[in-house]
């Protein structure tokens, strides 16, 4: 029993290092700066300006916070999804299926780096908010903020896990990725107040990751303490957990099916 846990821990770390290498192998400082720091900023600027133009107000913080957390979604969806969906691309899926390694350890290990990367993205976003848009962090308690960001990046990684498995059975991974990403933009309340969305859309918002994370962050930056946001965080965590569970389940289903009929080529 102990040997099994040691193996699993080792697999976890190997997965993490693999992800780390894959993430940064082709990145040189220029690319990292461009894609991690500049590109998200340009998106933030775009939505902040539309938002303030629309409402006529000077308060950009609503949009800054929303977009900063979207950056977490980006790591979760593109990073995690590709690290699993990418298995199919690189043809290593049969090897993965053939190994006795604990799946959970593998995937969690891989997701780990992307969670860290996602958190970094949020901090960069908030940083830009302070620098360029006058985001006021004076009322913010650090611990609840850190916790919220961690939980949110975790839950988007959970979505990424599920999407990654979907990516295994389709040729158009990028299409799925981008659609989900933009859906998150739409439904999570990042740029649109949830109350103003049609009723059916608000229902969807309730069941996806990120929504509560964004809401919590807005509350925290406005001065809320851990007690107020705790229920939201619990729900956010739960959603992430459910999505990852669905992801594992889907993965084992695909694996069994692939072993039975000899192929994963569905569409």
């Amino acid at each position: 029993m102990k040997k099994r846990s040691v193996t699993n821990i080792r697999i976890f770390f190997e997965g993490a290092i693999l992800s780390y290498r894959a993430l940064f192998r082709w990145l040189r400082p220029a690319t990292y700066i461009a894609s991690k720091i500049l590109a998200p900023l340009t998106m933030m600027i775009f939505f902040v300006f539309i938002g303030t133009y629309a409402s006529g107000s000077n308060d950009a913080s609503f949009y800054v916070i929303g977009n900063a957390l979207i950056f977490a979604a980006s790591s979760g969806i593109f990073g995690v999804t590709m690290s699993i969906g990418g298995e199919r691309w690189s043809g290593t899926l049969p090897y993965l299926f053939g190994s006795p390694a604990n799946r959970m350890a593998i995937f969690t290990g891989r997701a780990f780096m992307h969670i860290l990367d996602g958190m970094l993205g949020v901090f960069i976003g908030l940083g830009w908010g302070v620098l360029l848009f006058g985001l006021d962090l004076s009322q913010t308690h650090l611990i609840p903020l850190l916790l919220t960001i961690l939980v949110t990046t975790y839950s988007t990684a959970g979505l990424g896990l599920l999407m990654g498995c979907v990516g295994l059975i389709t040729r158009n991974v990028m299409l799925v990725n981008n659609t989900v990403y933009f859906m998150m933009l739409l439904f999570s309340g990042a740029n649109i107040r949830l109350e103003s969305l049609p009723k059916w859309m608000q229902v969807v918002s309730k069941y996806i990751p990120l929504t509560r994370g964004i809401a919590s962050t807005r509350l925290i930056i406005a001065g809320a303490g851990i007690n107020e946001i705790f229920p939201l965080l619990m729900e956010e965590f739960l959603i992430g957990f459910v999505f990852s569970l669905l992801g594992f389940f889907l993965f084992s289903t695909f694996e069994k099916r692939a072993k039975k009929i000899g192929t994963l080529e569905i569409f």
Binding site: A39, T42, F49, N172, T179
Partner: protein, 265 residues
Amino acid sequence: MVKRIKDTLRIIGMSFEIELRQNLMDGFVLFGIVIQPLIVAFMALWMLKDKGPDYAIFIVVGSAMTGLWTTLLFNGGNSIRGERWAGTLEPLVGAPSSLRIVVFGKVLANVTQSLLSMIGCYTFISLIMGYPLTLSRPILFFISIILTVFSFASFGVIIASLFILIPDFQRLQNTLEFPVYILCGFLFPIALLPGWTTPISYILSPYWAARALHGSAQGTLEINQIFISWGLLIIFSAIYIVGSGALYRLVLKRARVDATLNTTG
């Protein structure tokens, strides 16, 4: 001379058709052309709701422009690189026809397909939202569309070659997407931006395209102001077309010296 023009048009037409055919098989292309602009349109609609129903046409045109630019940047810009990945760049270069004319046809196809997004947004918003969508000056609007398509396609020819000429240009792809939306006033006026950015806006041809399109759709510009925008679109297109000649000669010479027609070297 007439034969040359006929041949050129034939090549553009064939390249256009082939690109169209291939795109219809590619789901991701569909995303950039249809799905993303629709989502952007929806978001913009909701965010700008308080501005009133007259803004609906502004949103349609603005979102469609975001689709046009994204398509140009990702699909059009990939014109030459994609051929290289597929191994078809060598046969293309080895053929007597001029590569930049072939690329023009490809980019034209991508940009034209992207216009579908404009139609899609229009239909979507008018049907579902029940908003009035009238074009204030339809004829001027349609001429603006034609000039926009032509100008974007010429720009795409330049962009496609930059992706080959500058090895790290690809890194900038994501970073160039939103700044154009911002600086060219697609979904909010550039008056909101700091003053020092205005000269930058003026040297971007999509700015003049957006100006002409918004102005004729909403009727917010005088006719002579629209003519000025058209004039600038034409001048930019001319610059791109003339400049692309020298640029492509350089790119192809380099590629044949560096042996990068088949691989990235």
